[in-house]
């Protein structure tokens, strides 16, 4: 696709949706600001997180092996997968051997990334999302609208109608009661499930542990009730030591939802030991590449792998706040989506994407691991623009030539000034007609009035001033 989806216009023109997005992201912004303000060492924590991630990513081979050794030592198993097909094959094979049919899943962007539910359902498995937002979206056959708040765009009235339609319950608009309805359905699933699948927020190399943070308790149930737990994570989720969580846990909850800590932080390492009262009998960690190793080779691009999926860049992005989460081509939306989508999929698949930014830099300002997103956007733009010949490229070539010839630049300005049709009231231009109403001018005037060029340039006025 060469151009942005047409749906952008619809989203921007929908007042209810606009209000829902702006209010929800605004609330998350305020919560984040309130929660980082008391941290005297907040900026130092960001720097420490950046350096820890850099160190880990630059030594990923070492930490992957250390992690695997420690998972095995705890009685678990590590499975390396290149892509979603390999992940699904592993799960289907295991399910076949164990006679498993029902899977409960906690929230995981990594599994969204590889369309895991669809892949499993095609082979007759039932895979149920147990995070409330994700459960709602699964019923609607929609993708997450936001990395952290997947159903951010929906109102409780929409959820009430959905539950009535899909679950046959009475129309219920009170959120707490809606939660109870979902909980009743999901409890049965937890108890009957054969396999629990989770993501991972962190993988700790020195202890072989998977760390999952959440607020609803569904991840803890998904990973402890069924006999088999499979954690699926990108290889970039590694951190060297358990003590490093001292940095990351302080940043993640605050950046995501403004919580000092989320309600649950689970440390999962290996299956149930003798004498333990709960936990799975089998424990697997699936480590996914799916485009990540491509970035390792590039010192600049690998910074994208530092991301801890807090969603702060989405909340603070004035573009995300207008176009929402479903106008991005992939499940990763907002500023981080704008860089990792082309980096994972290749820049030419959605070449418009890195350009859909005003480069305001709000994302980089709040990123807890200090990913310089605007810098990456600029580099992606260069990759895209310089890879093809286009009218635009020729226009910028002419621009550069003109800017090196000041007299001709002044002359072209003068001509532009003379031939611009000026409104009679000496105001700004609202409409242009005929052959000049094309391209950038037309696009500008679609939304805003345009100032006509000055009759005398600064160059002219400066000469007069000196007289």
């Amino acid at each position: 696709m060469n151009t942005a989806p047409i749906k952008i216009r619809e989203t921007v023109a929908d007042p209810n949706l606009q209000k829902a997005i702006y209010t929800a992201t605004g609330r998350l912004m305020a919560h984040r600001a309130g929660s980082v303000a008391p941290l005297a060492d907040y900026q130092d924590l960001r720097t420490a997180a950046h350096e820890l991630k850099r160190h880990t990513i630059e030594n990923l081979d070492y930490y992957l092996e250390e992690f695997e050794r420690n998972v095995i030592a705890h009685g678990g198993e590590v499975v390396f997968c290149n892509d979603g097909v390999e992940v699904a094959d592993f799960i289907l094979d295991l399910a076949g051997k164990r006679g498993a049919h029902l899977i409960v899943k906690s929230k995981s962007m990594t599994t969204e990334e590889i369309d895991l539910n669809e892949r499993l359902e095609r082979h007759g498995m039932e895979s149920v999302e147990t995070d409330l937002g994700e459960y709602i979206l699964q019923l609607m056959h929609q993708r997450p609208y936001h990395i952290v708040a997947p159903a951010l765009h929906l109102t409780r009235y929409q959820v009430a109608d959905l539950f009535t339609e899909k679950l046959g319950v009475e129309n219920e608009v009170v959120i707490e009661k809606q939660t109870k309805i979902a909980r009743a359905v999901l409890r049965e699933k937890f108890l009957a499930a054969d396999i629990g699948i989770s993501g991972a927020n962190f993988l700790i190399a020195d202890s072989g542990a998977v760390v999952v943070v959440e607020n609803e308790g569904n991840a803890r149930l998904s990973t402890s009730a069924p006999k088999i737990h499979i954690a699926i994570a990108g290889i970039e989720k590694l951190i060297p030591r358990a003590t490093d969580l001292n940095v990351f846990l302080k940043l993640l909850g605050r950046s995501a939802t403004g919580q000092a800590l989320t309600v649950y932080t689970s440390f999962l390492s290996g299956p149930r030991r003798e004498g333990e009262i709960d936990g799975p009998e089998e424990f697997y960690v699936v480590l996914l590449d799916s485009g990540r190793t491509k970035l390792l080779a590039n010192a600049e691009k690998r910074e994208s792998l530092f991301c801890i999926r807090c969603g702060a860049c989405l909340n603070h992005c004035p573009v995300y706040r207008k176009i929402g989460g479903h106008n991005y081509p992939w499940i990763y939306s907002g500023p981080i989506g704008k860089i990792i989508t082309p980096q994972f999929h290749g820049v030419m698949q959605d070449p418009w994407l890195p350009f859909a930014s005003s480069l305001c830099g709000a994302c980089a300002e709040v990123c807890p691991v200090k990913i310089d997103i605007p810098r990456q956007l600029l580099q992606l733009r260069a990759e895209i623009s310089e890879s093809k010949s286009s009218t635009e490229r020729r226009a910028f070539g002419m621009y550069a030539w003109l800017m090196r010839h000041p007299r001709l630049f002044a002359l072209s300005g003068k001509l532009g000034s003379i031939f611009t049709p000026r409104p009679k009231n000496a105001g700004w231009i609202r409409h242009l007609h005929g052959f000049i109403s094309v391209g950038p001018l037309k696009k500008w005037l679609q939304e805003r009035d345009l100032p006509p060029p000055a009759k005398k340039s600064f160059h002219d006025l400066w000469k007069e001033r000196g007289k």
Partner: protein, 242 residues
């Protein structure tokens, strides 16, 4: 009394569309005791090409800029965005050209955004201006986030006689201009401008002030389209008023 020689880089947009902003800047700097110089061969900083991904074109324009201003003591610019292009991003575009990179960093260190020059070099917070109005200040993104300019323009405004400075809620939210973004994604850009405009309206201020004419072009374009009675002014124009 501060002294020194200041070269004006008025930027392409001020030269061609808002030349009075350049004159206002010149007046304020002269009153502050500086000798002014206007290198007439100046054109643009190269940012439009850089932001659109045409690095070679931006390098050509940057080389021209560095040549025109090679002997300047101070270079003062009525734009945070163009200043950041020169002082921050020339380093990126010349990353494979050590000689140009060195030259860019030497000249880049002498480039100041207008309010930054007043508060940090001239050490002036009160230019003796008078402007009777309620005013709200729009933080332009590159000034705020790349040059860390936040308090300076507010101090300068607060010291203007007759002026009441009101903070808007979304002062630090982008106006939606973003260079070619404004015409590549007009729907998004226009919606961002209107959100900013609503925030300005809520303050009850009669005038919105910025240190970037491009933001003001975007905001005034939206304000005029909406038919609102709000003025936009560059900081230099306010500070030149008496």
């Amino acid at each position: 009394m501060p002294s020194g020689r200041v070269s004006l880089f008025v930027t392409c947009i001020v030269d061609q569309v808002f030349p009075k902003v350049g004159l206002a800047m010149a007046d304020v700097l002269e009153r502050a005791g500086y000798q002014l110089d206007f290198p007439p061969a100046q054109t643009c900083c190269g940012q439009p090409a850089f932001n659109s991904g045409y690095r070679e074109s931006s390098r050509e324009v940057a080389r021209h800029f560095l040549d025109v201003f090679r002997d300047s003591e101070y270079i003062v610019v009525p734009s945070g965005s163009c200043t950041a292009m020169i002082s921050h991003h020339y380093d990126d575009i010349f990353e494979n050209d050590p000689d140009m990179r060195k030259r860019a960093s030497e000249i880049g260190a002498r480039v100041y955004e207008f309010s930054q020059f007043l508060t940090e070099v001239a050490k002036v917070d009160d230019v003796g201006a008078r402007y009777d109005a309620t005013v709200t200040y729009h933080d332009s993104c590159h000034a705020l986030r790349e040059l860390k300019i936040k308090d300076g323009p507010r101090r300068l405004l607060a010291n203007v006689k007759g002026l009441t400075l009101l903070e808007m809620e979304a002062a630090q939210e982008c106006c939606g201009f973003g260079g070619t973004f404004s015409v590549k994604f007009p729907e998004i850009s226009g919606a961002m401008a209107r959100t900013k405009m609503d925030s300005i309206v809520k303050t009850g201020a009669s005038t919105v002030v910025s240190i970037d004419s491009s933001c003001l072009m975007q905001l005034e374009g939206a304000i005029r389209r909406a038919g609102l009675p709000i003025r936009t002014m560059h900081l230099a124009e306010v500070l030149a008023s008496r």
